[in-house]
């Protein structure tokens, strides 16, 4: 933001000094990061420390490769605060707290694989309850930030839905169904053109810049503008948005705001690939009837990364989606042969919808499906022998 022009202070009257003070405060709001605020708010009260005791943060736990009881090896996903690639979203919240959200697996079956003996795998996935809590908190926070944005920046006031143009009620800039949604109605002084110009250039706290806007009108619908602002996806939810619809009536512009997010399924223990793994077969089949390209991976380091790639995937969206492109699609399958002799298969449908990965354990489908965003690219890098065929 450019500094406004002020008179030299010595020549300022009280109003000018106060205006400079207000502007100074506003210019420092950026020091208060909305996600830091959320993280602090949702951080459980720490118990009093005792001498000689130290804590592992959720991030440290998530980042660790745990060797439990000296004999088990677990390759953990990079959930939690240590995952710098997760953006500034609520994935930085203590979803992955070691207590209450730990999936404990094992002891692993006995036959000698890469690592013999019993093992216990601690995987810090958020539970469904934690996902629900984080989603509820985020939608409340998004809604509060939107309210602040409209009242502080546009001098808007909340109004009952009944006091807004009827056409606004049926309009939403975000999907009509979702697991978490909050709707508000607002009256903002000024014309639709003025308000829309502002909304194109500014966005509520916690969201990125406008990711899309449109204008429309019809026989039943007055001229209106719609805006969408994205908030970062996290391990708890895949889609977080604020949608705004603006419509003018008289000298006032009325807004409908929808803070919306689609939460994920919590991962179950059955979907986790547990060490020891003897080998991984990576198979790509392009289209229906295509000849599969297969590569068998046996080196420990790559196996560990492939296991981690599957275990790092968050659950898929809880919103049911039906895709009609199965027949034309390609499959990327990873078959993990466990030390116990069993197999776990992670299969991604490529080029159809959001890239969901389904998991089968010894031939039995297990739930939930996983969000395969970025999965194919990661496997490409790990097993380039298969990648060039695509």
């Amino acid at each position: 933001m450019n500094a406004p022009t002020f008179e030299p202070v010595s020549g300022m009257d009280d109003d000018q000094l106060i205006a400079l003070l207000r502007d100074t405060f506003a210019s420092r709001e950026d020091l208060a990061d909305v996600y830091t605020a959320h993280r602090i708010a949702l951080t459980p009260t720490p118990p009093p420390r005792r001498r000689g005791q130290f804590w592992l943060t959720a991030g440290a736990v998530a980042a660790a490769v745990a060797v439990v009881a000296g004999v088990g090896v677990a390759v953990l996903p990079s959930y939690g605060p240590s995952d710098s690639s997760a953006g500034a979203g609520l994935s930085h919240l203590p979803l992955a707290a070691p207590t209450g959200s730990t999936v404990m697996m094992g002891p692993a079956a006995g036959p000698v694989g890469l690592v013999p003996g019993p093992s216990v795998l601690h995987v810090p996935y958020p539970t469904q309850r934690e996902i629900d809590a984080a989603s509820q908190a985020e939608v409340a926070a998004l809604s509060a930030e939107t309210a602040r944005f409209l009242t502080k920046r546009l001098h808007g006031r909340a109004v009952p839905a009944g006091q807004t143009p009827g056409a606004l009620h049926g309009m939403s800039a975000v999907p009509a169904t979702g697991t978490k949604q909050r709707t508000g109605y607002w009256a903002v002084p000024g014309s639709l053109t003025e308000v829309a110009a502002y909304l194109k250039q500014h966005h509520p706290g916690g969201t990125s810049a406008t990711n899309g806007w449109g204008a429309g009108s019809g026989s039943d619908t007055p001229e209106n503008y719609t805006f969408e602002y994205d908030a970062p996806a996290t391990d708890a939810y895949a889609l977080a948005q604020v949608g705004v619809v603006a419509m003018q009536s008289g000298s006032t512009t009325y807004l409908r705001t929808d803070s919306y997010l689609a939460e994920r399924w919590a991962r179950s223990a059955q979907t986790v690939v547990a060490a020891p793994v003897a080998q991984v077969e990576v198979r790509l089949t392009v289209g229906v009837g295509g000849k599969p390209v297969t590569e068998t991976v046996t080196d420990d380091a790559t196996i560990a990364k492939l296991v981690s790639a599957v275990n790092a995937l968050p659950g898929s969206l809880r919103i049911g989606q039906v895709w009609g492109c199965v027949a034309q699609s390609s499959h990327l399958s990873l078959t993990f042969t466990l030390g116990s002799g069993g197999t776990v298969v992670a299969d991604e449908l490529i080029g159809c919808g959001p890239g969901t990965v389904s998991v089968t354990d010894d031939g039995n489908a297990v739930t939930p499906e996983l969000d395969g965003t970025g999965f194919e690219a990661k496997i490409d890098r790990l097993v380039p022998q298969v990648a060039p065929q695509r």
Partner: protein, 165 residues
């Protein structure tokens, strides 16, 4: 999700902004938010039943901030305006604008006066509400505001503190 967590999460961004304005430092602001929420957590039952939990949380924060100030004043010498260190980067580039100067000088204003300025000109609270938050009379609010503004004006008016042209 429990109502308490929902309330504090919804209010946390605004509280952190308030903390930044009160303390002037990001890290201090985060510490202040944390200590505020720790205090509030002890009364979570009451908070959930309140009609305006945001006002309560704001009051807890401001008083926590003033209380911390009183504790520290006993141990730390106050910093006079003349001794406020200049930010090194700004010294080099010479690009201090008046907002930078104002922000820097705010650090020298006594805590209670600064709190009044923040509540009045950032939170836009009326004096009666500020008096309730601080537990003082409206007259004290007005005198604190007057003194705070006067101090800022005096500091900002001195030629050496004006931003370079």
């Amino acid at each position: 999700m429990e109502a308490y967590e929902e309330i504090v999460t919804a209010h946390a961004p605004a509280l952190l902004r308030l903390a930044v304005m009160l303390t002037g430092q990001r890290q201090d602001a985060e510490d202040l938010l944390q200590s505020t929420l720790l205090k509030a957590e002890r009364h979570r039952g009451r908070l959930v039943d309140m009609g305006a939990p945001g006002a309560y949380l704001r009051r807890v924060m401001v008083n926590e901030h003033l209380s911390l100030g009183r504790t520290r004043l006993r141990r730390v010498a106050t910093v006079s305006a003349e001794r406020v260190p200049e930010p090194a980067a700004e010294d080099v580039t010479g690009v201090l604008d008046q907002r930078d100067e104002m922000w820097r000088r705010l650090a020298t204003v006594p805590r209670q006066q600064r709190a009044v300025l923040v509540l009045r000109y950032y939170e836009d609270l009326p004096d009666a509400e500020i008096a309730r938050v601080l537990g003082v009379s409206e007259g004290t609010v007005r005198s604190n505001a007057f003194r705070g503004l006067a101090a800022l004006r005096a500091q900002l008016s001195s030629p050496e503190s004006l931003p370079p042209r």
